[in-house]
């Protein structure tokens, strides 16, 4: 496989995953904001911006921080490099240049998602914003479905590798921001607003029922954290993503007949996660732990690029 093709596939995987994550984040924030008895208001939208590191970009636009403006910025803004539109533009740009490596189905879902958003200029009220978001999510689900029908070859592995690397990054950011949100004065840790925040996290990663199945318990922040970091059976957890990254790298290594530095780093990370307990994470400080994870993930990303000559 051409190095350029591999790089494009990897980035398609990352961008589609990023678009989907942002879509879920908006949906969950709308939900959090809409719990009418105790509206979360601007805090919820501020934290959504923080999760995708778009807070400074949004502030620079000078528009008022309200649900409508933030959801539009996260979905449509051309000047926001991580908006859903920007991600789909980049995914389609890459997909177009490597069409031969994609199946018709996979290309069509990306192209359709892109076409669907191309003429949307205004998100309207939150209800119609949610309709747009739901459409995007349907397309990205379609993309995942199309991936599963691909030949199990390098193309499949690079798409999956990109998606898994991105997923690890997104989940770590989500936990970090949401956990450190300041509760309004007078609110209890474990109180209703705290609970709402943790529910939002679970909604963002579609893991509300998974939590009940795994823990048979009511929402407890340390258990949610345990699940999102260490439970490898949850595909969006750090451990689950690390397994998947290792699996794709090992597959490519077998096909090429050799492995490299990226395989070594990925194996090391997986072993570390397997040895970690949630208590030790909290002892060293959750924020520090997640920050170190993000740095390590970025390093693995660079190593993958070098190993396969992304150039």
């Amino acid at each position: 496989m051409l190095s350029r093709t591999a790089a494009s596939l990897y980035w398609i995987g990352r961008y589609v995953e990023r678009a989907e994550f942002t879509a879920r984040l908006i949906e969950a924030t709308v939900r959090l904001d809409a719990l009418s008895a105790r509206p979360a208001g601007a805090t919820a939208w501020e934290s959504a911006l923080l999760v995708v590191a778009a807070d400074q970009g949004f502030a620079a636009t000078g528009v008022e921080l309200n649900p409508r403006n933030v959801s539009a910025y996260l979905t449509l803004a051309v000047n926001n490099p991580s908006s859903i539109r920007s991600c789909l533009d980049a995914a389609r740009w890459n997909a177009k240049s490597v069409r031969t490596a994609l199946t018709r189905d996979a290309w069509e879902t990306i192209n359709r998602a892109w076409l669907g958003l191309r003429n949307v200029t205004d998100m309207g009220d939150l209800r119609s914003a949610l309709a747009v978001i739901e459409k995007i999510r349907a397309e990205t689900r379609g993309f995942e479905g199309a991936l599963h029908r691909m030949l199990r070859n390098e193309a499949y592995a690079f798409l999956g590798l990109g998606a898994a690397m991105e997923r690890a990054d997104n989940t770590a950011r989500l936990i970090d921001v949401k956990y450190h949100l300041l509760l309004p004065e007078g609110e209890q840790v474990g109180g209703v607003i705290d609970r709402d925040q943790w529910t939002t996290i679970l909604h963002t990663v579609s893991a509300n029922t998974a939590y009940r199945w795994l823990y048979h318990d009511e929402l407890k922040p340390w258990l949610v954290t345990d699940m999102l970091i260490l439970k490898s059976e949850l595909p969006r957890s750090l451990a689950g993503s690390a397994d998947e990254v290792l699996g794709h790298l090992a597959f490519i290594g077998r096909r090429l007949g050799r492995q490299g530095e990226a395989d070594r780093l990925a194996r090391q990370r997986q072993a570390m996660l397997a040895r970690t307990s949630i208590d030790s994470v909290f002892q060293q400080g959750l924020h520090e732990y997640l920050e170190a994870f993000l740095v390590e993930n970025a390093r693995l990303d660079r190593t993958i690029a070098a190993q396969f000559r992304f150039g």
Binding site: L2, R4, W93, R99, T100, W107, N111, L256, R309
Partner: protein, 497 residues
Amino acid sequence: MSVPTAFDEIFGNSGDQPRAEFAALGAWLEETPDSELDRRQQAAEAAFRQLGITFAVYGNDDSAERIIPFDIVPRIFTATEWSRLKEGLVQRVEAINAFLADIYGERKILADGVLPQELVLANPQFRGFLSGQKPPHGVFAHICGIDLVRTGADEFWVLEDNARTPSGVSYMLENREAMLRLCPELFHRFNVCPVDRYPDQLRDTLRSVAPRGRGSEPVCVLLTPGHFNSAFYEHSFLADSMGVELVEPADLEVDDDIVWMRTIDGRVRVDVIYRRIDDDYIDPLVFRPDSLLGVPGLIAAYLAGNVALVNAPGTGIADDKAIYSYMPEIVKYYSGGEAKLPNVETYRCREPGALQYTLDNLEKLVVKLVDGSGGYGMLVGPTATRAQIEDFRAALKAEPHRYIAQPTLALSTVPTLTEKGIAPRHVDFRPFVLTGSDGVHIVPGGLTRVALKEGSLVVNSSQGGGTKDSLILSDTPECLLPPRGGQSQSQGQGGQG
């Protein structure tokens, strides 16, 4: 307007009754309401847009990606018409390859005075540095797209030979897919030759011209300028359906006169390059040093015999419009017989008599730039304004050698779905001719382009033309579609969609 009444491919000259062979199409048009045809046409175009079968129109920024309009009413050739065309095409393309081998070799045709020596040797498309160079297996023009027009039941004319990087074959294939899906009943009424073998034949052609000694599994690639190119869809479609890598110049490197592609597993040696980049942009060391496209050293690797380029460099001389006017003589010189497919009568404005005739009859003629393409630099006299005619008059007087002129032909028409229902529209036809080390192959089909504006003779996609499926009928079993599966007696509902 002075264009005479045209021959209609389906209705002949009579006007109201279809030609006997095509009665079934007439009946189909009769019984299918326009609204239903319209619905299917829109379904086809929606599918094309979704697939991204797009075409970039240069100089038209806001519509950087457009689909080429598709017309649901097919054009049909009888088996007899096709076999005559095929003979003529084989003869012509064999002559084109013999001509190229000759002028880059012994130059016998020039020694024999069949055409003026300076017309070849001083032509900007002639690559002098290739003289004495034989491409692998002696084939120069592996893929030719021959543009044909028709003016009557037995009157086919060659309008243009495309021997560099002819495009459009993906539309031949995609149009057929759309027709099979949307109008399956037509394929029950007619025995239509399949076109879907084309990618396999193209791949066989590429393999057959690999440099000798490179084993039974030569590495073939398709070289595209990139996804901003107007024909990128076709490039990726062909690479995909052949199962070969689609490479951009930056994916290739030349080392010690050997071409390599950069892969995740290191370098892989390349044997055959189907290049969809013009000579001028293929190697900055040889052609345009200012070009950022291209693979430095590619031509040296070609000259060393280490890689086959498809089509070979230098083939542009064969489809040059100034050379075109000599094609009847060229075909006769190499085949020994008269050209089975005639040229459109052509006035070479470089000759004083022809120039005078052209200047005197501008409003009746089509005038073309010798090196123009895609409908640019062209005057269609009968539909031109006074001012356009005077502009061309001045240009012709200033540089007569850059122009040729041809009579305005009454191009045949085909019934076409328009806003006002079915109406005749002018068409041309481009079959694709493959030449490998084992000879010439033609898949029974081609690209029919249709001028969608009433009365217009300009069918170019860059000028707003559309396309149609081109059905070639056959009675011989090997050409037929395989029978469709399904339960016995089941008609209509429940069949394959």
